[in-house]
């Protein structure tokens, strides 16, 4: 773990005297630029995600019309200067729908990544620190991981009324076990480290040990894991919406735009094409960011994968 510097309890009490300021001030901008040049995956991925977030936030300002406005007289128009991505079989503007659909993917990806990380972290910490609970929790996690995550999410949403909230909950539940295993692994590998034992001997309480010594070490692998979860959540949301079990049709999402374009895809392929391109680019961007972060945060892992 190269990114996290360990703070042992002793250094807290005896602060080192400040070093004389003899070094030239670091050229902050140059360093940031060099970091991005050295890690093009982070730069490209981050930039594309930034654009997508911007599109999601500024959707009403991007020349869109009401994405749910029906215009039966203007059904299935091909892309043109007026309808950039054409219109669907109900005459709705595909461009506006795709732009507004960005919101669903960004929200679902972000929310699932955060929620799954938080819940998985909690479960992993409990499991790693409570010996008698550990086998029980881990067997349940194994069981959940034995159900292919897309199918688990499908089964969960099948029994709720379709809403973005329920989609987020379902995908989160399907992703939690992987985070829990990761965190538990880190906890187990650290619990016997000399500096943790020293902290225990010095009388640190368990919450303090977790906060000071364990959590910082989970940060790097968790960040990488969270980006991959974000990417897979976006794909799962699109799959759920595509098969008609996800985001309700009243809210345009890339998955349900494609689902509605499905009946006509042989004659009007553009209805499926544009959301597909947006979805692919966004997921690609998140995966690039994940790969870049993995290489930057954990060089050992980078060599292995």
């Amino acid at each position: 773990m190269s990114v996290v510097t360990q703070t042992d309890p002793l250094s807290q009490t005896t602060a080192a005297p400040p070093l004389p300021d003899i070094l030239p001030p670091p050229k902050q901008r140059g360093r940031i630029m060099r970091f991005y040049v050295g890690h093009p995956a982070i730069a490209i991925g981050g930039l594309l995600i930034g654009i997508m977030v911007l599109i999601a936030v500024c959707a009403p300002l991007l020349g869109t019309v009401d994405p749910t406005a029906l215009a039966p007289a203007k059904r299935t128009r091909p892309p043109s200067a007026l309808y950039w991505f054409g219109t669907d079989m109900l005459g709705r503007d595909v461009y506006s729908r795709v732009i507004y659909g960005t919101r669903v993917s960004i929200v679902v990806g972000g929310a699932v990544a955060l929620l799954a990380s938080a819940i998985g972290m909690l479960i992993g910490l409990i499991s790693g620190f409570t010996r008698w609970l550990d086998p029980i929790i881990m067997r349940i996690m194994d069981g959940m991981m034995s159900i292919p995550s897309v199918l688990l999410a499908i089964a969960l949403v099948a029994f709720t009324r379709g809403s973005i909230q329920n989609v987020i909950i379902a995908i989160t539940l399907a992703e939690v076990p992987r985070v829990a295993r990761l965190v538990r692994g880190v906890v187990l590998s650290l619990r016997d480290q000399p500096y943790v034992e020293a902290a225990v001997t010095a009388g640190s309480r368990t919450p303090m040990i977790i906060w000071r010594h364990i959590m910082p070490n989970t940060l790097a692998p968790m960040t990488v894991q969270a980006t991959y979860i974000c990417a897979s959540a976006m794909i799962t949301e699109a799959i759920l919406s595509f098969i008609g079990a996800g985001t309700p049709t009243t809210t345009p999402s890339w998955g349900n735009i494609m689902a509605e374009g499905r009946a006509l895809w042989q004659v009007k392929p553009y209805i499926v094409f544009f959301p597909a391109v947006f979805l692919s680019i966004t997921v690609l961007a998140v995966n690039l960011l994940g790969d870049g972060l993995r290489d930057a945060l954990d060089p050992r892992l980078a060599k292995r994968l």
């Binding site: 069981g143 034995s146 159900i147 688990l152 969960l156 597909a276 692919s280 995966n287």
Partner: protein, 313 residues
């Protein structure tokens, strides 16, 4: 050896029980009255009562789970609420297309992915390596239905080389069977190939830096012998592991692929069941997929001892 195998097989029984319990209780993770959600908004009181009895919602949880498990062990997965047919029969009718699709995808993917990973590792840093790794990132990012539509659009609609959609049973001849499945297999396999190629490359890189590979090269063995006999054999365990884990990706993808290519398999069955809220069918298909996944990974575990004789438990 036999002791090990039987111990491993026995060890999967608790996992299977937990999976069964999870699949059974999925219904109760969701808020609200399951019967009301299944019945929909226009349901009458009789409908609700009928569904409640059909699902056994009027009896205690453990009793129901016990009964359900007993029935499942006897091959009875319950009765479809929508069609009133036994779930096991509905599943049986849909097995062939899904099994064919998965096996064809598995075979094609392995044939492509392993050589890709080996070549990428051999030519590490070259343009070819970068191209393969670029494909791996792409393959993992482009969702299966996007690949499916793209392939169908190019090869079926534009070039008219292959049928657009549908499925022909193997009994009607191998060629029509293959023609209908090939595009869906490639679409379904893309993410799988990406996954396997990545792991193959990473493992091969590690193995190629070992002393015995240097020795093999030094004693004048040909490149192919070094790569495929000395190196790949020692890289087999991680590759086989990811092949097993990746089956989950295939199963999730199959649901979508079957929708895109109108293949009447288990994926279509579960999608139709979701739209009709036919819970016993959803439960049955999810259970079948999950248990298959457990068995696949058990087989992978057992393969370890064959692939690497040093592994002894």
């Amino acid at each position: 050896m036999i002791g090990y195998i039987s111990r491993r097989v026995l060890a999967t029984i608790p996992v299977m029980l937990i999976v069964a319990a999870l699949v059974f209780s999925l219904l109760y993770f969701t808020p609200g009255d399951p019967a009301a959600i299944i019945a929909g908004d226009q349901a009458s009181a009789e409908d609700l009562a009928r569904i409640r009895t059909a699902l056994g919602l009027d009896r205690p949880f453990l009793t129901r789970f016990g009964e359900w498990l007993w029935n499942v062990l006897h091959g009875d997965l319950g009765t479809s609420i929508f069609t009133n047919l036994p779930v096991s029969r509905l599943i049986g009718e849909r097995l062939e297309p899904t099994i064919s699709l998965m096996i064809l995808t598995l075979v094609l993917s392995l044939m492509v992915a392993v050589p890709m990973g080996v070549i990428a590792a051999w030519k590490q840093g070259s343009l070819l390596d970068r191209a393969i790794m670029g494909f791996a990132v792409m393959g993992f990012s482009v969702p299966v239905f996007v690949v499916g539509y793209l392939l169908a659009y190019i090869f079926a609609l534009q070039l008219e080389w292959l049928p657009v959609q549908g499925y022909t049973p193997l009994a009607q001849g191998f060629w029509p069977f293959l023609q209908h499945l090939i595009l869906s297999s490639i679409a379904l396999g893309t993410a799988y190939v990406a996954l396997i190629a990545r792991v193959t490359r990473a493992t091969m890189l590690e193995v190629l830096s070992q002393d015995y590979v240097r020795t093999a090269k030094a004693k004048g063995l040909g490149q192919r012998a070094v790569l495929f006999v000395h190196a790949l054999k020692n890289a087999a365990v991680p590759i086989v592991t990811v092949v097993g884990i990746g089956v989950a990706v295939l199963m999730g993808g199959a649901v979508v692929t079957e929708s895109v290519f109108a293949i009447p398999g288990l994926g279509r069955l579960i999608v139709d069941a979701i739209l009709r809220r036919d819970y016993p069918v959803i439960q049955g298909v999810v259970l079948l997929f999950s248990l298959t996944y457990v068995v696949v990974n058990l087989v992978v575990d057992l393969l370890y001892t064959v692939l690497d004789p040093r592994i002894r438990y």
